[in-house]
């Protein structure tokens, strides 16, 4: 509590000072109210009714109003209010429906003054007239509001809301005769105290109960209401129709609202359930609270500003049995924690970036965007039309960075998505098909992945034997070359490295060998290439690929480099990282290039010389042993992870779907779900609805699968009365007509309904199709020339 500030404010003579502090109550509080001089506070609840004085450092219990041996239900308070004119006068609303007034001036211990037992149900709210000493208003669960004159024994008038329970009543601060009442059914009524027969105005403010309302302290026409629908609304009552001028959406149902003194647009709220914090909102800025008090550990039940003219002290009582004084200086301000920059990527690679103007302008001065030589960048700036908030000068700049059409093109994605086959055929065929698709789009690496998958997973199947021979034949045709090359030029280091791996029983041996050989080939042909983009694990597919493929793969590399374009660094450095080559490859290359090291390692581990045969024999043994496809699961898993990491979630998901059970167990559910959602999101952004649906349907994730079951409702309006049809799509509840009749057979259409957009006649899809084959006029006889395409 060291950080807590001490605040002193001068208020025309009397000063308020204090710090954030709290005291424990014996029981949960239901409501609190403050004395006019801001020095005392009363706390009321089911089992508590006490007055505390607010000292500099602490709350001091002044008076316990719960007296008597057997506390009756009259003490069980739902609400309490302290008269703002008379320091000795308090009123409480009891849960059993009794309204009690208390006179602190009484000499006896029992300060109870009057008892009004007129309400039949719990009284939710009591309210004193702001200027009239003897006038008290109550609102009860039984739907009645009663006005009491404290000089009389009974109520002077009763107001019937004619609707459900009254949740809150508040006298208007400026209008002598007016009070507002809020109801459980969402209505707010305005009454003239002199006319108990009928309300002056009524309007529906919320969906569900309106728990609270508060008149603005200065602006006489403003009324704030808070409801169970998690909204705080500010109504302008000056016009003939109450007009909603502000609306704040909170995260839980709103239990209390209180305008902040001296701040025209600020309002404090607390919630009924779940959320324990107190928020102070600027109603013009409804998305983020301007201050937040997070001290309470259970729901806050009562909030009150300590003084009518002091905006810095807030008192609150809570179900966690504490009474707090909050100081504005100690409030946490969520705005400070909010991220003031926004960044969004468009579908086609454009990038929008919004930030505080100051930030952007200083940066752009320092570094004009000319750094990138290949791609023009457009920089647009838009200022916010008006300065909206008084104390935060918030003008922000929006920059849009466009990439040129060609390099950012995502055509390949769309084509791939459209052409991939994901199910319905044997695995081998699917793989072949997809490999062909990938190849057709110059994505050789992906193509090879597919081929590889085919080999791994369908080698045991019947289809595969031919394929296998084929690939082996090819492999053996292509490989001896490499083999000899290896033997000739590679120093023993490489051989022994492979030996080392083999002796460890590692599965990677073959791959590493293959990889290094291919790298070497590449190096020979093209000295300048940094290395192939292909990570080690995937090269198994090379068995089938001929040398051209290898070169093509090589070409891909500079291409990838071309794709990368640099944006101003401070804006978005991300893109660079994505395109970076995987480090694993470099590592491998290192090994190949520095034979000595590995050679030494080999010597230390295994001294038995093994003939440095290589690829061909290994690959033979590989096939002959018919390793179970499980054996490759880790590799395939890594492949998928690799693709996903690269941003090619399409490949990852497609493989996942095609392989189905074979690989599903290997990858944890959450990752899968993440991939699926990303892919589906992408598909939907490209408006590939059918494909995204197919993906959803084929996915094995529970969370994804049920996406298709969500919001499957289609809302239709009746064609006669134009009102929404609530339950059935073909019969209107209101006008009792079958809305969608088939113009051909005159029966109700319950399934697919097709209609002409010109004359809006239609019917069964089949019937209309058949009709329009022979006739070009509308079957309804309206004379319209309908078209069916």
């Amino acid at each position: 509590m060291e950080k807590m500030a001490r605040v002193t404010t001068a208020l025309g003579g009397n000063t308020l000072s204090g710090r954030t502090m709290f005291c424990h109550l014996d029981a949960p509080a239901n409501a609190i109210s403050v004395c006019r001089d801001a020095a005392q506070v009363v706390v009321a609840g089911r089992n508590i009714f006490k007055i505390y004085s607010i000292e500099e450092e602490q709350f001091v219990e002044k008076l316990n109003l719960r007296v008597g041996r057997k506390p009756s239900l009259n003490f069980s308070c739902a609400d309490v209010v302290w008269h703002q004119m008379d320091e000795n006068l308090l009123a409480t609303a009891a849960t059993n429906g009794v309204v009690v007034t208390w006179n602190l001036g009484k000499p006896s211990r029992n300060k109870q003054d009057q008892l009004f037992t007129e309400h039949k149900r719990t009284v939710n709210k009591v309210c004193f007239h702001p200027t009239e000493v003897y006038m008290l208003l109550s609102g009860s669960q039984d739907g009645y509001m009663k006005c009491f004159d404290l000089r009389k024994k009974d109520s002077v008038s009763t107001f019937s809301g004619q609707s459900e329970s009254v949740r809150d009543v508040q006298f208007s601060i400026r209008d002598y005769f007016t009070f507002a009442a809020t109801f459980e059914n969402g209505n707010v009524q305005l009454w003239d105290i002199r006319r108990p027969d009928r309300y002056e105005r009524m309007f529906t403010a919320h969906n569900g109960p309106v728990f609270c309302c508060d008149w603005h302290l200065e602006d006489r026409g403003w009324l704030a209401t808070g409801g169970r629908d998690k909204m705080v609304k500010v109504w302008d009552m000056n016009t003939t129709r109450a007009k909603e001028i502000y609306c704040v959406q909170t995260i839980a149902s709103v239990a209390r609202v209180k305008w902040r003194p001296e701040c025209k647009h600020h309002i404090a709220t607390c919630s009924m359930m779940v959320d324990h914090n107190i928020y102070v909102w600027d109603v013009r800025r409804p998305f983020i609270p301007s201050a937040m008090f997070e001290e309470h550990k259970d729901v806050t039940t009562g909030i009150v500003w300590r003084h009518l003219h002091d905006p810095y002290f807030l008192l609150s009582g809570s179900k966690d049995s504490t009474l707090y004084q909050h100081i504005f200086k100690d409030a946490s301000q969520p705005i400070d924690r909010a991220n003031p920059e926004g960044l969004c990527y468009s579908l086609y690679g454009d990038l929008a970036f919004a930030a505080k103007e100051s930030l952007i302008s200083s940066d752009s001065n320092r570094k004009p965007y000319i750094g990138d030589r290949r791609h023009p960048i457009f920089f647009k700036r838009k200022l916010d039309p008006t300065e909206q908030f008084e104390y935060i000068s918030s003008s922000s700049a929006l920059s849009v960075f466009e990439t040129d059409v060609e390099s950012g093109s995502m055509d390949w994605f769309v084509h791939t998505a459209k052409q991939y086959a994901l199910a319905g055929r044997p695995l081998a065929e699917l793989c072949d098909h997809n490999a062909k698709v990938a190849k057709g789009l110059d994505r050789n690496q992906v193509a090879q992945t597919w081929t590889m998958l085919r080999i791994i997973y369908s080698s045991l199947g019947t289809v595969s034997s031919a394929n296998l021979n084929h690939s082996m034949g090819k492999g053996s045709a292509a490989l001896p070359l490499m083999n000899s090359f290896n033997l000739k030029d590679i120093p023993s280091g490489l051989g022994s490295e492979s030996r080392l791996d083999r002796s460890k029983g590692e599965s990677r041996t073959e791959n590493i060998l293959m990889d290094s050989s291919s790298t070497l080939i590449n190096n020979e042909d093209n000295e300048e290439t940094e290395g192939s983009d292909v990570p080690a694990d995937y090269l198994l597919g090379d068995v089938e690929a001929d040398e051209d493929d290898l070169y093509m793969m090589d070409h891909e590399n500079p291409h990838a480099e071309e794709q990368e374009y640099s944006l101003p660094q401070e804006a978005f450095p991300l893109r660079h990282e994505i395109v970076d080559n995987p480090s694993a490859l470099d590592h491998l290359q290192d090994k190949a290039d520095s034979p000595h090291v590995s050679g030494n390692e080999a010597e230390t581990v295994s001294l038995t010389p093994v003939e440095s045969f290589s690829l061909i024999s290994i690959s033979h043994s590989l096939y002959e042993n018919r390793l179970p496809s499980d054996f490759f699961s880790p590799i395939v898993r890594d492949t998928l992870l690799f693709y996903a990491e690269q941003g090619d979630v399409q490949t990852a998901v497609s493989v996942l779907i095609v392989l189905g059970e074979r690989i599903r167990k290997e990858i944890d559910e959450q990752t899968q779900e993440h991939w699926y959602t990303s892919y589906i999101d992408l598909l939907q952004r490209f408006q590939l609805w059918n494909i995204s649906n197919e993906v959803i349907k084929l996915s094995t994730c529970r969370a994804i699968n049920c996406l298709n079951q969500a919001s499957t409702t289609l809302h239709v309006n009746c064609s006669n009365c134009k009102r929404p049809m609530s339950n059935r799509g073909w019969i209107c509840d209101r006008c009792r007509q079958c809305a969608s009749m088939c113009a051909v057979c005159h029966h109700v259409v319950k399934g697919l309904f097709v209609w002409c957009q010109g004359c809006s006649h239609g019917g069964h899809l089949q019937h209309i199709m058949k009709w329009l084959e022979t006739s070009s006029h509308c079957p309804a006889g309206c004379g319209h020339l309908c078209e069916y395409t």
Binding site: R46, T122, M272, M273, V274
Partner: protein
């Protein structure tokens, strides 16, 4: 059309399908079986208690027919519950809407789970009617048939729900946040809060619905279509005698304690004056409201008294409860039943203060937060049932029945230990006669023991539709009570 199971067609088909079981109940108590045969209650129509023509009575025909047509077109059938409830069209609409939502619309739980939970809930009260219905639905929505063999065959996750099901059904006040924590934090079998809330809503709904089924003597479904094999078999899994409307007609302890019966005999003579007296009392209560200044202690003791007295209504345990195996495989600890909230001599549990955790303020917000929209539907349903009135009482018209409705509602809550500060429980005593209390207590706490005699013995002047209305009130009050306890526990878990 044959009544299922009793007709040769039904049993033959069942036997042919190899699904027929010898009912443990019949074997054990053959006399009961005979009794059913000798004096079958009204086997025609949707209810055993209510004559068919009463149910089918035409009032507000258009609206009602529309609603029924609608229901038929959505669900493809018109079950007996719907038919009986259709006496109160307005209510039926919101009932169906909420039931439809929790069973078939978007929600955290998969469809088969929902039906299985319904089965588990109904099984707590041995309500074979509901079980049949949902076994059927469970299979239709792709549930695993193996689960129907009993609780040992279901996933641990569902099994974990047993405890809360048991408590909720019989002694909801025992539910604590520890129970919630146990469900929510158990590693891989855990329930997410939305799922749990969905499950709790389903459980409460089906416990309460079981009350309605027994309370209104809902008959087993007549076979809508003999060609529909699945349905036939599913229904035939249960023997007629399971249809508990009749099964406990001569209940040992009822005859011994005999409250109900004695009252019945005494009151037959002056049933007419009984109604008059009730009206008189209501009038007096309304007028005397101001005069009678009961002290606060007095009020408190009245609640306690009512609580205690609810003990006397039926005391003693029905230890000889027979639970057929068909039902018992869905429940654990079948002996666990309602135990009076206020047992004398035991430390009594803290009373649930209705004002501290109300449905409108707290329950709704929580439910709606975790399982969106159900809050609105339930809210509407509760409101509907609470405010439903035709301003009639038996033959009298233009009567304000608010008092009576409130007494019924609060009496149910009272038995579950929920107290309203603003209610004078003396009213309950004045308005609800003993036989009615017997009925209320049976229907809400152990619905499976309801008999036609109980149903007939109270309010003999009243129309059947009014008695159905009573049942609706009891059912919703019970559901709300269960929900309040469960949601309060969840709230405590959250804070």
């Amino acid at each position: 059309m044959n009544r299922l199971g009793s007709g040769p067609v039904g049993s033959a088909a069942a036997a042919a399908a190899g699904q027929y079981r010898v009912c443990g109940n019949c074997r054990k108590v053959p006399r009961q079986e005979k009794r059913v045969q000798v004096s079958p209650p009204l086997t025609r129509g949707p209810s055993a208690f209510i004559p068919e023509n009463e149910v089918m009575q035409a009032n507000g025909l258009d609206e009602r027919t529309n609603l029924l047509v609608e229901e038929y077109s959505t669900s493809g059938r018109l079950d007996n519950i719907t038919q009986v409830m259709s006496i109160h069209t307005q209510y039926l609409e919101s009932f169906l809407r909420s039931q439809f939502y929790m069973l078939r619309m978007d929600g955290p739980l998969p469809l088969p789970y929902r039906h299985y939970i319904a089965i588990m809930a109904a099984a707590r009260h041995q309500c074979s009617y509901l079980i049949n219905m949902h076994v059927d639905e469970f299979l239709k929505t792709g549930g695993i048939a193996e689960w129907l063999n009993g609780l040992e065959y279901i996933p641990q996750r569902l099994k974990n729900l047993n405890e809360i099901n048991k408590l909720l059904a019989h002694r909801p006040w025992l539910i604590t946040k520890e129970h919630i924590q146990k469900l929510v934090k158990t590693g891989e079998n855990n329930w997410s809060l939305p799922e749990l809330v969905h499950a709790v809503v389903l459980l409460a709904h089906y416990h309460a619905l079981a009350s309605f089924v027994f309370g209104s003597g809902i008959n087993p479904e007549r076979d809508p279509d003999t060609s529909n094999g699945v349905r036939l078999i599913a229904v035939n899994n249960f023997c007629v005698c399971d249809l508990a409307n009749d099964n406990n007609i001569e209940n040992a302890s009822l005859t011994s304690s005999n409250f109900g019966n004695v009252m019945v005999f005494l009151q037959i003579a002056d049933s007419l004056s009984e109604l008059e007296a009730l009206m008189e009392r209501m009038k007096r209560l309304q007028e005397d409201k101001e005069d009678e200044e009961a002290s606060q202690e007095e009020m408190a003791t009245r609640f306690e008294k009512e609580k205690k007295e609810s003990l006397l209504v039926i005391s003693g345990a029905f230890d000889d409860d027979i639970v057929s195996t068909d039902v018992s495989r869905y429940i654990e600890d079948p002996g666990f039943g309602y135990k009076d909230f206020a047992r004398r001599g035991e430390d009594h549990l803290p009373t649930f203060r209705a004002q501290d955790y109300t449905w409108e303020n707290h329950g709704f917000s929580l439910v709606n937060r975790l399982y969106s929209d159900i809050g609105h539907l339930l809210d509407e349903k509760f409101r509907m049932v609470y405010n439903l009135t035709y301003n009639t009482m038996a033959t009298h018209e233009d009567v304000d029945t608010t008092m009576l409705r409130r007494a019924l509602f609060n009496y149910v809550h009272c038995m579950y230990g929920i107290r309203y500060d603003d209610y004078d429980y003396g009213e309950v005593n004045q308005l609800l006669e003993r036989s009615l209390k017997v009925y209320i207590k049976t229907v809400t706490c152990y619905p499976e023991r309801t008999t036609k005699r109980m149903y007939d013995s109270y309010w003999r002047q009243f129309k059947h539709s009014e008695k159905v209305h009573v049942n609706l009130l009891l059912m919703e009050a019970r559901m709300q009570a269960e929900l309040l306890y469960a949601l309060r526990a969840i709230t405590r878990h959250l804070t």
